[in-house]
Subunit: 232 residues, 2 copies
């Protein structure tokens, strides 16, 4: 479905929609005119957070709808599914969802923390990533990786757009385009095609570097790619 401006209007299920990353991305997508269904284990919790997002959007011209459902029902209601869940329990949750035929966007970051700070967790002996695991667990879905590096604080903050780029990786161009389109709601410009799905191995743990910078410089660091003319 396209709106009056010609922008494709997506209907996005946000799994983990009551967590800070999912809620923040859901808010931005709806603010950008997409319809959002926040998913949670319990429908009531999802609906309560959806009400909070709707209140935040009140008065925003052309905002999309925001509702809340249990995770599997949210997936059933949408063509696009954003996985915004913690890495712990990720595989079991993904395997339980009816993802066949869906465009699935993973922003899952397999990170670990110790007294030396954040660092990447090793997935599949270094030859895997959360996004690739999701693709293996849902072979009839099309999985891309994106939105790994955006700050939940800034997503829920007051800036019109985040001063960052969204890198999108995947093996299917059309599925990458969905995430690149959605990125415009977050950053004000389409996302950047960062290559094949296996490069999620690089995007996911890069968040550990940004967390280190945040700690050192007391900021919310983001990533921009230089050398590209806007709009890409």
């Amino acid at each position: 479905m396209t709106d009056q401006t010609g922008q494709t209007r997506y209907r996005v299920a946000v799994i983990g929609g009551t967590g800070p990353q999912g809620k923040g991305l859901g808010y931005r997508f709806a603010k950008g005119g997409h319809d959002v269904v926040l998913g949670s284990r319990a429908a009531e919790k999802a609906e309560a957070v959806a009400a909070e997002v709707r209140e935040r959007l009140d008065g925003t011209a052309a905002a999309g709808s925001v509702t809340g459902l249990a995770n599997a029902d949210a997936v059933e209601a949408c063509d696009v599914v954003l996985l915004a869940v913690p890495y712990d329990g990720h595989d079991e949750l993904v395997a339980s969802l009816p993802l066949a035929g869906k465009t699935v966007i993973s922003c899952v970051n397999p990170l670990a923390f110790d007294k030396r700070g954040a660092h990447g967790r090793v997935v599949n002996g270094g030859e895997g990533s959360a996004a690739e695991s999701a693709q293996e667990l849902a072979p009839d879905a099309t999985v891309v990786g994106a939105f790994h590096n955006v700050s939940a604080v800034l997503l829920w903050g007051d800036d019109e757009f985040l001063d960052e780029d969204v890198l999108v990786v995947g093996d299917v161009v059309e599925a990458k385009q969905v995430a690149m389109d959605l990125a415009a709601s977050v950053t004000g410009r389409v996302g950047i095609d960062g290559g094949k799905l296996r490069l999620a191995r690089q995007l996911e743990p890069f968040t550990a570097v940004l967390i280190s910078i945040n700690r050192k410089y007391k900021t919310h660091a983001g990533l921009r790619i230089t050398g590209l003319d806007a709009p890409h």
Copy 2:
């Protein structure tokens, strides 16, 4: 040694100084007022490239010196050593150099290429990086990681500074500061402290993402960190 502006003037051995990354970084360091000794397996080859860099710098006010020596002699002549060598043969070369007591900066990228493009090579089962390998092989040196993501083409190009940030990782603050200072010769501002040395696992293969972007968008992509006031 400090120059008249108060900037620390380093004496940097560039191992792999005849390759595009080493030559380009050596050029930029010397342009910024640091003294550079390009190293190569054969002193004559190093001296030939040094002459080329000197010619390029001719007339540049306050440029540092550029000379060429065999790798081990270059190391002996300097306090700071930049490892700008291919990952193939990296470990053997590092083990052969007299690095004890030196500040060693690794910009080595363990990458592999196949018909799907560039991707990161798995070092030590996913729990290692070229920089960490160098630290293990030279336990009496202090190794940091930096300059992984800068384009050799842009380094040798005509822009006064590159529109990128240099991320520096390491476990010793003073050693990171050396690389952060040197970064100013490349980007016009000091580098960014990106955290502990183990995060080189993230910086090194991120270059594969930039290579993918370069291929897709026909550019020389770079990385900037947002959310930091300049100067850092």
